[in-house]
């Protein structure tokens, strides 16, 4: 079983594995290959959990998280809550290569990305808009709120802290496995 080089990735994302392997075959570094593989999934929006147009937040917006790590130098580049830029793993690599930082998040990560030449564009798509409107129509269920009012298991926000209310948190069982990191 053990032989090198090796590409391994989560889920059945075959094209991502192919893209990484081709990059290696064409002489790319392992960093190039791992970036290429993840970027392929961003392009293809792998199972809706990668890239633009998936997993809208409570405001209907898609935001992206990504990282890249060099096991030789322990250099890391990462972005979190990246908005309006599709190629999150590319921006993560830019953090690694053009800063001394490790992790840049939120709106400022978008501005950093734009300065580094990444294109700013709307990350919503029909899927995320459909998921969001269905969620609004079902009283914002499921959600990640607890100990607030109004009762988050029954209605949308805005929410206020409610130290008194100790209603049980949503039973974890209704956790939606397609909503994962």
């Amino acid at each position: 079983q053990a032989s090198l080089p090796l590409v391994i990735n989560t889920w059945h994302f075959e094209n991502a594995a192919s893209a990484a392997w081709s990059s290696l075959q064409m002489g790319g570094s392992v960093l190039d290959a791992v970036e290429r593989g993840c970027a392929q999934c961003e392009l293809e929006q792998c199972d809706g959990s990668v890239g633009f147009g998936g997993s809208p937040d409570e405001r209907g917006e898609s935001t992206l998280d990504a990282m890249i790590m060099n096991g030789n130098t322990m250099e890391v580049g990462a972005v979190g809550d990246l908005r309006r830029v599709k190629n999150a793993v590319g921006v993560a690599r830019a953090v690694m290569e053009y800063t001394e930082h490790t992790f840049i998040v939120g709106e400022s990560a978008t501005i950093f990305a734009q300065n580094m030449g990444f294109k700013s564009e709307d990350l919503s798509a029909n899927q995320s808009i459909a998921i969001f409107s269905k969620w609004l129509q079902s009283n914002c269920q499921p959600n990640y709120r607890k100990h607030v009012f109004p009762d988050p298991s029954k209605s949308c926000g805005p929410y206020k802290p409610n130290a008194k209310s100790r209603q049980p948190k949503h039973p974890k069982g209704n956790f939606d496995p397609s909503s994962h990191d």
Binding site: S3, S29, W135
Partner: protein, 140 residues
């Protein structure tokens, strides 16, 4: 979420992740994917690991770092992955999550936490023996 580990012929390890996170998250919420040691970890002296699943919970245990460190101490990839999962399972028995692991000689493995509707975890592998992506499944 995609988590990927690539190990070169010379044993150089790289890791990366990309995700759009949890659906209906509170704006500003970041999961485990971009956190080194949580979403993924790479160390050319030991190997690489990547995690996927309920990031709010998994990030608290740094499963990728743990798996790589176990491989550093001689664990086989599958055992390292299983330990990373069991560490989380102790506190969150029905958490949704899986980990892939690979060592610097090209050994690989995966593990996942069994829960209703999730009893097998699929992952892709390419190496000189296959020369093309092969789908693997591990029983949780």
């Amino acid at each position: 979420t995609i988590g990927m580990i690539v190990i070169g012929k010379n044993g150089h390890v790289a890791a990366a992740t990309s995700t759009n996170g949890a659906t209906h998250k509170i704006p500003g919420r970041v999961g485990d994917s971009p956190v080194a040691g949580a979403g993924a970890y790479a160390d050319s002296t030991a190997g690489g690991a990547a995690a996927t699943g309920d990031g709010d919970i998994m990030m608290r245990f740094l499963p990728s770092f743990l798996a790589v460190d176990l491989m550093r101490n001689g664990a086989q990839p599958t055992a390292a992955c299983e330990m990373a999962i069991s560490r989380i399972k102790k506190y969150y028995p029905d958490f949704f999550g899986a980990v892939i692991c690979a060592n610097t000689t090209g050994g690989y493995g995966a593990a996942c936490n069994k829960r209703p509707g999730f009893s097998q975890f699929p992952f892709m592998v390419v190496n000189p023996q296959t020369n093309k992506p092969q789908l693997h499944k591990v029983d949780c």
